[in-house]
Structure formats: structure tokens, C-alpha cells
């Protein structure tokens, strides 16, 4: 199947991205990039759990995390990433990008 990177910019209060992710991809083919308020998805218990179950690879923008008062150690899922890592995921590790 198609390896897809899903881009999420919104907090879990605004959006549950796993609804769209599950429709468009198997867990093993799904990666997610969390930027801006999307980083809250990886910091909140239930949304982080849902994302872990729907995707196999989660990148969280390190600078957006830190700007909002959190550290990578506080992530409930995924790992902190620089924009270089995000671009590597988009260009090399997946075949297409879908913004949710």
C-alpha cells in the first residue's frame, strides 16, 4: 500500500485526526507530523493513545512543543523532531502527504 505522511496542525479539542488517518491508511503505512497546536495531540492521554494505535511513526515539532511550555520528555507518544526530520519523512520515508 501507500506510505502516507499525515500533517496535523490542530489540537485534539479541534480535531480527531485518527478518523481520517484510519480511512486513508493502514497503521503500518501511516506516519503523522504534528506542528503548531497539533503537538497537543501527543501530550494529551486519550488523543495520544488513539494516534499510537492508528499510526506507526509520529514526529512532533520540537520548537512548537517548547514554545508551548513542554519538553520532549513529556510526550506520551512520538518523538520530538526538527524540520529537517520532517522534510526527510515527507521526501524520503513516505510517498505522499495528506493534510488533515
Amino acid at each position: 500500500m501507500t506510505r502516507t505522511a499525515f500533517l496535523v496542525l490542530k489540537s485534539p479539542q479541534e480535531q480527531d485526526p485518527t478518523h481520517m488517518i484510519k480511512r486513508l491508511s493502514e497503521k503500518e503505512d501511516a506516519s503523522v507530523i504534528l506542528v503548531e497546536d497539533g503537538v497537543y495531540q501527543a501530550l494529551t492521554p486519550a488523543p495520544a493513545d488513539r494516534l499510537s494505535k492508528a499510526t506507526s511513526h509520529i514526529l512532533v515539532s520540537r520548537e512548537d512543543l517548547e514554545a508551548r511550555g513542554f519538553t520532549p520528555a513529556e510526550l506520551r507518544t512520538g518523538k520530538a523532531a526538527e524540520y529537517a526530520d520532517i522534510v526527510d519523512l515527507i521526501m524520503e520515508k513516505t510517498e505522499r502527504t495528506v493534510t488533515i
Partner: protein, 118 residues
Amino acid sequence: MASSTLVLITKSPYGLEEAFAGLRLALAMGVNGMKTSVLMLDDGVYNALATQKSDVVKMPSNMEATKELYDFDIPVYVVKEDLEARGIPESKLFEGLKVVPASAARQLLSEHDVTTTF
């Protein structure tokens, strides 16, 4: 090099410019001969209603913008489960749309090189 585009329409018409903008983007790809498809899902399925009257709010019609795509062989799919979840029977849709199960979305995604969301 991308030779096909899938346009996902997830927003309803007339409150936001998104759905109309997505239909125009699909048209722009299609008139250039690029293989292009549109998938209406989530609140995007509201764009499929035959009874919409955009002139009441002095807006261009999303129904007409959708039908213009047919001239360029751009198929427009509508997710069945999202219609059902909103209580919209298929009999209320305008002509030419292709109602598909949500499971068809993965296939559509894999059949196009790039995807954009509205």
C-alpha cells in the same frame, strides 16, 4: 514528477471558501490534461445536494463548479457513510456524482501521485 492529483473536499459549502476553492483547483489541473479526481467526505458531502441555492446568499454555485469538472473527465466521488451519518439519501444528490463506500478512499489515494485537502 506528479501526473495525477486527488482533491479531498472535507468542508461544507457557502460558510467557508474551501470547497469552492478545491473544486477550482481540480478544474485547473483537469483543463491541463492532468488525471484529477475529487472525493467529497466528512462535511464535504453537503456539496453534493441537488437542492442547494447559492444565489440566495449571492455566492457562486458549488454544484455548478462540480458539474464543470465533468467536461474534463474529472470524476467526483462522495462517501456513502458520510451521507448516511448526515441523514442524506442518495436521491437528494445531483446527477453525475459517484457514491462510494469509505473503503474506496484508500484505493483512490494510491491511484494518485499527490493529494490536497480542502
